[in-house]
Amino acid sequence: MMAEATFRQPTTRKALLDERQIELVQKILGYTMLIAVAALLILPLYWMISTALKSPRQMFELPPVWVPNPLEFNNFVQVFQEVPFGRFLLNTIIIVALNILGELFAVTLVAYGFARIRFPGRSILFLLMLSTLMIPYHVTLVPRFILFAKLGWINTYLPLTVPAFTGSAFLIFLVRQYMMSIPFDLDEAAYIDGATRFGVFWRIILPLSRPALVLVVVFTFVGTWNDFLQPLIYLNDPNMFTVSLGLSFFQGARETNWNLLMAGSLLATIPPLILFFIAQRQLIGGISIEGLKG
């Protein structure tokens, strides 16, 4: 939209100067707004970091201290002593890893089936799968809990990991769309050379689907890492808690130690944030695909 100024025909030297001035003003205005909004959105993250580095005394100082002095890095050690935060991290990593494994297994197979193999009922089944996205998950929450309770899976990681091995409908949809865009000539050539369907899947389609699979990993990681409701329902033993669940109990436990709580929150935020930076390009591209499907 900034380029529009150049479109008018400058008739005199003076007019040209005016256009340049307008452009400069627009630029300054643009940056001012960008910086103001960025400051607003970064403030909570800054406050999290700043509080995480405060001593108990500085935490409750008025007016609030913006830059803690001294920086209490010891808070990050204390989080691990006050609560089994190391356990929480380990538990979460185990659950996340199993979910990624499960989704990669199921999503690639199912997406390939829907994208490139012909079978009766394919469109109906695919439509059925898409329709499950429209049903809010909380309808199944109670009966799923009962199912897992009857199986004796309460207070185990099974309810939090086994469903991933059947694939999430959204991720299957995403990968299937990607696989549809791979030229079919590749499969045909491979079949002529005597390849099996699984061979084509494993040697050709899977390697070419890498960008989509990165999205599967990122979405699964962030979704599982951030999940709160399911661990809350299925886990009772504090030693089995995930980071999110552990933090919430830490909050309710006693007179809140906000500096330690913020140190824990920061530790919980860093892994998804790192992943976001690594996969940023693909992530934003992938979200655009999601936005366009409507």
């Binding site: 960008l34 959105l41 469109s123 809010p136 009966p143 059947t166 369907r197 709160f228 929150s265």
Partner: protein
């Protein structure tokens, strides 16, 4: 959406040749993980949930068939149900338009053609990556009446800040602020929509002497309406599933005077704290029916206000 599911007709089983049957079997094998999951974790539980909603059951012992009793109680005398509906709807009415406005506003900023815009896009999107529990916790701390940074900043401009999460009338505004912090997530989708608008339209409008606001309301907004529509439907479903921020910021039972008793929080209370499985199932079904009805209504109404470029694509 429709183009996505238009697949070639394959025919029925008995018309297939032997090799086609083999292919079909392999196909079923490939999609079997999803089919198994669909039956065990989706279809089965949904049917079970409907049946359970006609029973009274505290998970130990056998469910007792009570017919429509649960539904009668919910619509008749359940004051907390009314509160939960009121809270969730009030929140939607204020939050959804704000989300659209802030999302588009942020997307317009992200779309400025300035040096270093990539950095700003990253910064704007970042809050939506923060885990919900951590995000809610930092806001609880920031909204602390006495020591919170929000009230300190308000004080600097001469405003006496309220007791945000401690007073019934400020719990929902607090939760709206918390949710809006993550609006970068939807802004990215609006940004994609903005970038699909052909630059020629703006150039033509400029030649015709249109100003920034005219271009925004006559070009940007109409062409963005499919994205807005899509986001509204998703947002609506999302609000009814809001749980974590309310649980953390307002508390397990919904905060002062239950002013933060989101519908999902109420289902959780009934189902997993008082262990009334039948009642919670009935609550879940009422919500699902409501969401489906609203979604259909929004879909129906869309042709009056959503602009699709069908004519253009037909001419291609």
């Amino acid at each position: 959406m429709m183009s996505v599911i238009n697949l070639p007709k394959i025919g029925v089983w008995r018309d297939l040749s032997a090799s086609r049957r083999r292919e079909a079997l392999i196909g079923y094998l490939f999609i079997s993980p999803w089919m198994i999951g669909f039956v065990i974790f989706f279809l089965g539980p949904i049917i079970a949930s409907l049946i359970l909603s006609f029973t009274r059951w505290n998970i130990v012992g056998d469910p007792i068939w009570v017919g429509l009793d649960n539904y009668a109680t919910i619509f008749g005398e359940d004051l907390r149900f009314k509160k939960a509906v009121e809270v969730t709807l009030t929140y939607s009415i204020f939050y959804l338009p704000l989300e659209v406005a802030c999302g588009i506003g942020l997307a317009v900023l992200m779309n400025l053609k300035l040096r270093g815009i990539g950095l700003f896009r990253t910064l704007f999107y970042m809050p939506s990556v923060v885990p919900q529990v951590a995000a809610a916790l930092v806001w609880v701390w920031m909204l602390n009446q006495r020591y919170g940074v929000v009230n300190t900043l308000l004080k600097n401009v001469g405003v006496q800040g309220p007791n945000w999460l401690g007073s019934p009338s400020y719990v929902l505004p607090s939760l709206i602020i918390i949710a809006l912090w993550g609006v970068g997530g939807s802004a990215i989708i609006y940004l994609a929509g903005l970038q699909n608008i052909p630059e020629v339209l703006y150039e033509a409008a400029t030649v015709d002497g249109a100003n920034f606001l005219q271009k925004f309301f006559r070009i940007t907004l109409p062409l963005l309406s499919p994205t807005i529509f899509f986001q509204l439907v998703l947002g609506l479903i999302g609000v009814f599933q809001t749980f974590t921020p309310a649980f953390i910021a307002a508390g397990e039972t919904g905060g002062p005077l239950q002013s933060g008793l989101f519908y999902m929080l109420y289902i959780y209370n009934r189902g997993f704290i008082s262990l009334r499985m039948g009642y919670a199932s009935a609550l879940a079904w009422i919500m699902t029916a409501f969401i489906l009805v609203v979604t259909v209504l929004v879909l129906r109404s869309s042709r009056y206000w959503v602009y699709y470029e069908t004519d253009r694509s037909r001419n291609k």
